[in-house]
């Protein structure tokens, strides 16, 4: 009886966590990257000129984002549909969470850690990314946007090109 109850709890926990990518388990055993949240803008892969969608030489897409009180940078990201997209996310201050509403995916952003996950978005459209982890006074207005466009509309990126859909 007890075992069955525990199994149910386990299934429930696993179910709710399935699409939500948290800090990798080895973080808790000393495998953290030791990124300094205060100096993200000075060095490393999260300098502002490197944020957004980037294409590897192999054609794989990587999106780099910073979550910070109380905006996501970049605020609007654009990715192709039906293609695995790797997200690399960190935080500059508190713990945040990107919740890709309507797609079932979620990804935590933790200061001092790069959280990585590969998602494939099946339907094109515009999705909101509200912050899903209380992060301070402006938490409820912290929202990013995800534009999923058909694969042929996205084209390919030049080396060194970083794509976002911010109105600049």
């Amino acid at each position: 009886m007890f075992a069955a109850a525990m199994a149910l709890v386990g299934i429930a926990l696993f179910g709710t966590r399935f699409y939500m990518v948290d800090v990798p388990i080895w973080h808790f055993f000393g495998g953290g990257q030791g990124l300094d949240p205060a100096t993200l803008h000075l060095r490393g892969e999260f300098v502002e000129s490197n944020l957004g969608a980037a294409e590897d030489p192999g054609g794989a897409l990587t999106v780099r984002m910073i979550a910070q009180q109380f905006v996501f940078v970049p605020q609007c990201i654009v990715v192709p549909a039906d293609v695995p997209v790797k997200f690399r996310v960190t935080s500059a201050d508190a713990v945040h969470m990107l919740s890709f509403l309507g797609t079932g995916y979620g990804l935590k952003a933790v200061p001092g850690e790069v959280n990585e996950a590969t998602f494939t978005f099946n339907k094109a459209g515009e999705f909101n990314i509200p912050c899903h982890e209380f992060c301070g006074a402006g938490h409820y207005a912290m929202r990013g946007h995800l534009h999923v466009v058909p694969r042929d509309q996205f084209g390919s990126l030049l080396p060194g090109e970083r794509r976002t859909c911010e109105p600049r």
């Binding site: 205060a38 803008h41 502002e48 940078v73 605020q75 600049r168």
Partner: protein, 257 residues
């Protein structure tokens, strides 16, 4: 992670070390090629918004500021920024009650040219990091409430009080769908974040100018594109409403700190 003393982490640490050694051993022959490597992971030229980072060392320098020495230095600033930290000219910022961190950061950014200003860049070049910390300590102590017995220009009258409705909405609630957090969640009085100046007693024309500079890309010294990404979402009317509202000294927390 530098907490090597914890016993429980030792086996995992060894595993990671082994993994990294393997990775580097595999990567070494690749790095030897030299010419092919830069093309493979082409990165855009690095743009650094500001050399200031809120590290422990920086915070220690700022918090060690001596307000009395700042008082002596401030005599040079008072021509433009006022004897009591309130500028006579609207496009010059009020310095009274400005928090230490944002004051110090702007001085360093003027010095390094990360923030441009014909006047302030040359002035900031004459100030050491220590001087800037002293001045920051002095101006942080100045009261933002105006003296009721004197007839000074602060608070400024609002040009168009009808704009206040829009301003209050943005200050209190922001606009989440456009990615605009409430102003008061970083600029006070609800909460502050590092490097965000309190706005309750700021000059309206100065705020309007800076919002324009943030949104059109002529001011880019905000860390991690925070203020730029917010300002580019504001309409011209909203910028006017916000700057007039804050400039009139009506901002939340005005005359109460």
């Amino acid at each position: 992670m530098s907490h090597a003393s914890q016993e429980g982490r030792a086996p995992s640490g060894a595993l990671w070390l082994a993994a990294w050694v393997t990775v580097f051993a595999l990567a070494l022959p690749l790095a030897g090629d030299g010419a092919a490597a830069p093309a493979a992971n082409a990165e855009p030229p690095i743009r650094i918004p500001s050399d200031v980072a809120w590290t422990k060392d920086t915070l220690a320098v700022i918090s060690s500021g001596d307000a009395f020495h700042g008082l002596l230095l401030a005599r040079r600033c008072s021509h433009c920024h006022g004897e009591d930290g309130f500028s006579a000219v609207g496009t010059f910022p009020n310095l009274a009650g400005l928090d230490r961190l944002s004051f110090w950061k702007q001085m360093q950014d003027f010095r390094s040219g990360k923030r441009t200003s014909a006047l302030m860049q040359t002035i900031a070049e004459g100030l050491s990091q220590r001087d800037a910390a002293d001045l920051a300590a002095y101006y942080a102590l100045l009261p933002t409430a105006s003296d009721p017995l004197e007839k000074r220009a602060f608070p400024q009258p609002m040009q168009d009080p009808s704009g206040a409705t829009g301003a209050i909405r943005l200050i209190v609630f922001g606009d989440g769908q456009r990615g605009i957090p409430p102003c008061q969640s970083c600029h006070g009085p609800v909460s502050y974040i590092q490097g965000a100046p309190p706005l309750a007693a700021q000059n309206g024309s100065y705020l309007a100018e800076q919002l324009d500079h943030f949104s059109n890309g002529s001011r880019t010294n905000d860390i991690n594109v925070r203020m730029r990404s917010i300002a580019m979402q504001l309409t011209a009317e909203e910028k006017t409403a916000l700057s007039e509202y804050y400039g009139a000294g009506l901002g939340p927390g005005a005359n109460s700190r």
